[in-house]
């Protein structure tokens, strides 16, 4: 069931229908006992007293896709996973919208839990995605993962 999706990027917010379809599509495998799904949502933070209205994401897409495929393959090998999927938004994502979706499945729960966390943490560190935090006064700040 190792499935390679070359394009991990979605223009605009990730809808709950997209998430539901992903679940439905991968549910057919009766060896699966556990799914762990992480969703990242754009938070209405304040930066120097100014409210964030959204994030504009861009990526070095060719490199990011390669890195994401490598990370999925690593994770499928390292953990006892059945499937692993990653999607990230590009373009303007308003606060309150989902911009990041990581989805793993396994026979038993520990593998899915461990793999989703590993993948989320590694993506933040390793994958060339850039984010411009748009502020209420039409200025912006470049987001930096820590």
């Amino acid at each position: 069931m190792k499935q390679e999706i070359k394009n991990h990027f979605i223009n605009g917010p990730i809808s709950s229908d997209f998430i539901a379809d992903a679940i439905k599509k991968h549910q057919v495998n009766t060896a699966i006992g556990a799914f762990d799904i992480f969703l990242g949502q754009v938070r209405q933070d304040e930066i120097d007293g100014k409210v964030v209205t959204g994030i504009e994401f861009s990526a070095y897409e060719e490199m990011a896709n390669k890195e994401l495929i490598k990370l999925k393959e690593e994770s499928l090998e390292k953990f006892d996973l059945i499937e692993a999927h990653i999607y990230h938004s590009l373009g303007s994502i308003p606060t309150g919208e989902v911009c990041f979706f990581v989805f793993t499945s396994s026979g038993h729960r520990p593998a899915a839990f461990a793999a989703t966390q590993h993948m989320v943490n590694e993506i933040k560190k390793r994958v060339p995605i850039f984010g411009k935090e748009m502020l209420e006064d039409n200025t912006h700040e470049w987001k930096v993962n820590r």
């Binding site: 861009s58 990526a59 070095y60 490199m63 990230h88 990041f100 994958v127 060339p128 850039f130 984010g131």
Partner: protein
């Protein structure tokens, strides 16, 4: 030789460019490109970034004809 340069995020904003193709002397390495950008773009030398050559992050300096050199500011995915 010809080098393809890519700028992303804050560096694309700073340089006003997403992509450049430069014709450079054969011995040109990353250091020479950085020297050039420091002269050309105000605050370049204050920026934090990683360098990827042909889509692999590297600290290697040497370049060859046709290389794709990307300057990557801090990642913000997730």
């Amino acid at each position: 030789m010809e080098i393809n340069i890519k700028f992303f995020g804050k560096l694309a904003e700073l340089t006003g460019e997403n992509e450049l193709t430069l014709e450079v002397p054969d011995e040109t390495g990353i250091k020479e490109l950085e020297g050039r950008f420091t002269e050309q773009y105000a605050t370049w030398n204050l920026q934090t970034y990683l360098v990827a050559v042909n889509q692999n992050i590297t600290e290697q300096q040497a370049l060859k004809n046709g290389d794709e050199v990307a300057f990557l500011p801090p990642f913000a995915g997730g």
